[in-house]
Each structure stands twice: as C-alpha cells, then as structure tokens.
Symmetry: none
C-alpha cells in the first residue's frame, strides 16, 4: 500500500511538481525550445530518482522525448508502458490568469499552473507510484516502461515515427495513459475512446497589402469578409459540417455503447456551468455527450484579419488567417477529411482570391475494446481507491493514443484523474490535489491487477 | 499674375518646403509632440512672413493648430478661409523608403518626403500665393484666413470643438481645402464630396474563457463562428449592406452628377494595378467609381478571435472582436446608422451570447453644391492654369471638411493638386513639383475669381 508513502512524502512531491511546472515547456513556441529540453531532462532525472534502471532523452527530430524502464518483474510478468507528455499549451491570453502561469501556487487544495493537469501532474503521480512501490517493496509486479513525449500539444508530429523506430524497445502488453479526465470527483470513470483530429492553417490573400478603405473600400475584395464567408459556411443550419461526404465513414454506436452513455448522470445545467456558457448548441438531434464524444465536429480555433489593436484603422484587410480543426470519430480518416476540405475550399473561394492551406496535425480516432481483461483490471484498481466502479466514458479530445495502440498492437488504458473544469488549455489550469493523490494510489493498485489479469 | 513671382522665388520656396518637411510632425506618435508643436510654430512664422496681419498658435486640448488672417479687402469683399493640416502620418514600414522620410530630396521633378503632398506642400502653395500677391500688389481681392490643424491624421479629435469655440473669428463666405488629389496631371479635377464614416468596435463573448475543443467542441457556441456569421451577413448576395433601412437616406445622383462621373477616363485594369488586386467586386449594378465615391459601404477592418499565433491550439474561442466601418454618403446620418447597426446586431446574436458595441468615430458625409457660384470660380481658376476645365470628382475617404462646412455654414471648395500615385500615407510619399507650382498660380487666380463671383 502506498498510503503511508504519500503521507510521508507529500511535501517533497508537491515541491517536485512545482519545480517541473516552473519550466515553460511550450512546444508550440519555437523560442521555448530550450525549456522543452530542460523539461525532458527534468523528467529523466525524476525517473532515475524513482528507481528506473535506465532513463534517457530520445531525440525525435523535433522536441525531445524521454524513455525509461525497469524490467525485473521476470519473464512471465506482463509489461506495461506508461505514456504521457511533458510539453504544455501556450498561455495566452495572459491577462486572464489570476497568477503567472509558470509560478505554481497551491490554493483551496488545487495546484494552479500551466501543465498542472495536462500533463505534468498526471505523469508525476505515475512516476511517484513507481518510486513508492520500489522504495517500499523493492520491486514492481510488472515490467514498467515510460515514454514521455515533448510534442503532444502540437499534434505529436514525430511520435508515430518514434514508435515505429523504437517498436522493439517499447514492446509491451498494455499501454496506460494518464492524461484524461474523470466524470467527477465522486463519479470515477475511465475513458475507452478519443476523437481524432485534423487541423488546417488557411491563409486568404485578396490584395498585395492592406488598402485604404476610403480610396478602395466597396470596390475590392476584403479578406475579412472572405474568411467570414468561409467560416460561416462550414456548418449548415442543423449544425452539421458542410463538407461533402464528411459523415460517410462514421461508425454507428452499438447498443452497448448507447447503454453505457445513458448510464452517465449528465446534467445539462452543470455542463453549462463548467463550460462557462449560457447556451448549448451543436448537431441537431444529438445529445451533448454524443456531440462531444461520439460525433465528429468542426471548430474554428482562430481568425486573424486586418487591424486588431487599440482604436480604429481605416483599412481593407489584404490578407486573413483562419485555423480550422475537425474532431473525428471511428472510422473517419484524417487524410480523407483533408481531401474533402481541400475540395470544399476550392469551390468556395472566389476567383482572384488566393488561398493557401496547410495541414498542421492529423490524429486518427482511438477506441479501446471495453471487454478486454486489462480494462477490467483498471476498473478494479479505480474501484479500490474511489470506492465505486468507474463508468465508461470517452473523451472528445485527441492524442497519440491511437498510434500507440495501433503500432504497438496492444490495448490502451486510461488512468486519468483530471476533472472537467480543470481548464485544460485555458487560463488558470489546475490539478485538484485530492485527485492527484488518489491517482498515485490507483497507479500502485493497477500494476498488481494487471499482473493478476495477465497470470 | 504670380508667374514672375514663382520664377524669382522658386529656389527660396523649395528651401522653405524642405525646412518644413524636415520637422517630423507625426501626430499619432506621442514622442513626437514637440515636433508637432515646432511644425505649428514654423507655419505661424511662414504666415507672418507672408504678410498676414496676425498669426498665432491655437491650443486645442491636443496638438496645436495655427490661425492667421489678413482682413483689409474691405467690408464688401468676401472672406475665404484656407484649411489644411501640418501634422503627418507615421512612416512605418521604414525599410520601404528609398531615402529617410524626413530628409527631403528633389528627384525627377518630385519632392520626396513624408508630408510632401499630405499636407505641407499643399499648404505651402497657398501661403506662397498670398505672399506673392501681397508682395506684388500690396493687397488681396478677398479677406483671407488660414486655419491649419495639427491632428488631422489622427481623426481631428478636437477640431469640431475648435470650430464651434472660434466660430466668430473663423466666419467666412467660403472654405478652401488644399489636401485632395486631381484625376491626373493632364486631367485637372476638383473634388465636390467626401464620404462620411462611422466605426464600431464589437466584442462577442460566448464563454467565460477559451474552452478545450476536445472537451467541449461541438456542444457550445464558438465566438469565431458567431463573429463569422455576423460578418458574413453584413452584405447580401448582391453586395449590398444588409442593415434594414441602410439605403433609405441615400440621395440619388442628379443627372449632372451622373454625367460628370461618366466623363472621367476610368481604366479598370489600372485601378486593379494600383490596388494590387486581381478582382473588383462590390454593390451589384454600380461602377467602381460609384462604389468608392457615391455609394455607402461596409468594410470590416479587423477580426480577432481565438488563437492567431504560430502552429495550432485546440480551443473553442470564448470571445471575438470585430471592427466594422461604414462609409456614408449624403444624406446618411452616422447616428441613424448607429441605431440601425445596434438593432441589426440585437436580432443576429443568439440568446446566451453577449455582444458589446462601442461607436469609435463618426464623421458625416460632405457634399458641395456643384452649382454654387464659388465652385464656378474655382473651376475657372483651375482652367486658367491647366488649360482645361476641371472634371468633378469625389473622394471615398472622410475628413473634417464636413464639420467645416456645417459649423461655418459655407460651401467647401477643394483646390487639391495631389495625384493618385503620390503615395499618401505610404512610404516614398511625393509632391510632383509641376503640380505644386500650378497650385500656387491657381490659388492666386482663385481669390480674384471668388471676389468677382461674390460681387
């Protein structure tokens, strides 16, 4: 049992978490590349300190990953691979943070900082669980490997290549991901699927430069108008994505999946409160959970056109940028969606207007078979810590989990303790520390359950 | 006749122009406020040297203006007020200038510097015409007043208050503005109208903060989508502005105005080349000149929503900003358009989405009656110098001329000699000196014509 380990090591562990969170490892920002590397080295040091045989930086062609292993459980014991990421999201808008994003604080039982829950905090409970078990028992019931990525927040551009290259060293019986959320602190749950993602950076150019709106306004194309027309026509009046054929590959839910969805105590008002919105909307004829977990969507994540500063400038914007993302569900394929988007754009942009499209990230959707014995092992571990069996959920987000399961050909389990209002990717991201400590205990339970299920 | 004055004073006048242009009187740049004041003092000295009775700095609450007068033409002679501005535009992008913007040079018959045509050069020919007439004849055929503003390039924020406060001292029979362009060096023209402008800063809020598009995407409103729907619906499929009643107050062109427009040698390919665009578009059934001069328009000058930095961020933007401008024509009223815009917005924004609108600037359209005798006087003065009668044009931009005409209750004449390629507001601004000297002669002719028309 790790409970006494947690009691005696609590302050040190919080200190380690704070130190890691102080490193601004924003993978999207090229000027932060030294910090991303520093974060990788920090993780490697932690893994060595936890008692791994071996921990090293793995170069990927992009930001560095970290690999570590402990392989003394014996040849008949199963091997588990823990996956997570040490890079974090950008922090803008900075002025919406209650305190600086890389100066972690502990307030009301929450650790607040960029990366607290996504994903340094969730990795740290895994590392500390291994450290505690090795410190108290001298061994683990499974052979344990860690793979910690540094480019998850920019769509894992080098990750699949890394998996393929390192396939032998990464070989395992099960992957455990700690990067997801639970339904609520009193309603433990585990995820069985993630949506896929394909994202595009689109630049519209209507003129060589911004034009004076007095001299030319009303007679020339306006990039802000063109980009607005595009965005406005991405959805039809039923809230469905307008790309031709977009829904053709969507696999219908099974009866068991529909029943599992209906078991969740979904409260629409609570969902609105968590989101901080006053209305819900989306694809017609679908529930909110269907919309975010089992249905594909299109979200524009940014529009930038013309003048955005103080006051006013009388220009006709000569160019505009829009970032468009599509979340995908089984069996949609990012490359087929890319073709559909390119074709759709070509028909929508007027002659004489230039459009450049760049695909910036593609992740296929992931789905774990809920009947696999390893899922049962995870459910028992969670039940032992939270006092009740977890419900089965999905996540609307996307990650490299699909590639992990596919390339390594193993089931992917999700031991995630984030909560829906932890402000992933947003200002004032937090980790509820009670969830953190429970996660640490559950990770300890999990390895015993996995070993038993394998035996 | 001023021709011999020009011949004998040419070098001195160019020297004066260069000295004035060396003063970097950028009103938009607070760090240049001392230069703006220096420029005002330079103008006051010029006016005294030209023989005005009186020239003084006028404090406005912002950058200083200059007032001067010569009032000895007698009580039966008309009074003319020359308006111009001594402040200049910012100079960025600096690296696109062939030489430093405040080190004037004379190349190929052009004076190149910031402010050469907008507006120091055009004011100087007015001041030198008065100086020449007073030097050669000892008097002027009209009572002459000068009002030289120091904040035109930042939207004349204190100008109307100045006009109202100084209304008695500024009383006149006609205002003459020298700040506009002619159709071409061989095609003299005079402007009879400017469009008005009303601008809005609109902020949309759909959520308290940006949301993770994986967690919430597809179930909540997206500010980027809302703002795109708004912008997209500002125009109908005929390129007309969608606000109810927007065109109700637009005064149709007279037959004379239509004929005047049709006389201009408009070249669509040349227009596209100047704009740097590959297509023209706008209100259906209207020519390009109608679209930019005589029709009201709506141009979005900026959209900012969500993430606009490098790479990608997977958020649902919680807020968005759009800056919307309307150019207005007679008899549209900025306040009525503001009411229409507010009403339109209220019907377009979904329940549960917050919208804040701020009016940031309102200028009414200006139109001079082409049949007024003073316009005839101006046309004769131009014809005498250029050898042909001027065509009547308008400008699509907006300025303080409307307030001049309205507050002082007099017709506004435009003796402007700029050319369309003079790079107003852009790098390598120039004044074609042949136009400058002709402007000087035409100003001299103008006062005699105005006196005769008045008599």
């Amino acid at each position: 049992m790790l409970a006494d380990y947690v009691e005696s090591e609590r302050d040190r562990i919080v200190g380690v978490l704070f130190d890691w969170l102080r490193i601004p490892s924003i993978s999207a920002d090229p000027s932060r590349s030294a910090s991303v590397r520093q974060s990788a080295e920090f993780a490697a040091d932690l893994l060595r300190g936890a008692g791994m045989d071996h921990a090293e930086i793995v170069e990927t062609g992009g930001a560095p990953a970290v690999y570590a292993d402990w392989l003394h459980a014996g040849p008949s014991a199963p091997t588990a691979l823990v996956y997570g990421h040490h890079d974090v999201q950008p922090v803008d808008p900075l002025d919406e943070w209650a305190q600086p994003p890389f100066e972690p604080v502990l307030v009301d039982g929450e650790c607040r900082a960029r990366g607290a829950v996504d994903d340094k905090g969730q990795l740290l409970f895994q590392i500390e669980a291994a450290r505690g078990l090795l410190q108290r028992h001298g061994s683990l019931p499974v052979n344990l490997k860690f793979l910690i990525e540094g480019e998850e927040e920019i769509g894992s551009p080098h990750f699949e290549k890394l998996l393929v290259t390192e396939r032998e060293r990464l070989a395992c019986d099960v992957v455990v991901v700690s990067d997801t959320t639970m339904w609520g602190p009193q309603v433990p749950s585990t995820c069985v699927g993630l949506r896929g993602l394909v994202a595009f950076d689109v630049t519209i150019r209507t003129a060589a430069a911004d034009l004076h709106s007095g001299s030319f306004g009303g007679s020339v194309p306006n990039s802000a108008h063109v980009v607005a027309d595009l965005v406005s026509s991405l959805h039809d009046s039923d809230g469905r994505v307008s790309l031709p054929g977009f829904y053709d590959d969507v696999r219908p839910l099974t009866a068991a999946e529909e029943r599992s969805l209906s078991l969740l105590p979904f409260d629409e008002e609570d969902w609105k409160r968590k989101a901080g919105v006053r209305r819900l909307e989306g694809e017609a004829g679908r529930s909110t959970l269907e919309r975010v977990w089992t249905r594909p969507t299109c979200e524009v994540v940014g529009i930038t056109a013309g003048y955005g500063g103080e006051g006013m400038k009388t220009v006709v914007p000569g160019n505009a940028n829009v970032k468009v993302t599509f979340r995908l569900v089984p069996d949609q394929d990012p490359e087929r969606v890319t073709e559909a988007f390119d074709g759709w754009l070509a028909t929508r942009v007027p002659d004489g207007v230039t459009v450049e499209v760049q695909q910036v990230g593609a992740v296929a959707p992931a789905l774990t078979d809920a009947d696999h014995p390893a899922v049962g092992a995870l459910c028992r571990a969670i039940e032992r810590v939270w006092g009740q069996a977890p419900l089965l959920t999905r996540e609307g987000g996307s990650g490299p989990e699909e590639a992990l399961g596919r390339v390594l050909d193993v089931p992917v389990l999700y031991l995630g303790v984030g909560l829906p209002d932890d402000r992933y990717h947003a200002p004032n991201e937090r980790m509820v520390m009670d969830q953190f400590w429970k996660g640490l205990l559950a990770a300890g339970e999990l390895w015993g359950e996995v070993a038993r299920a394998h035996g």
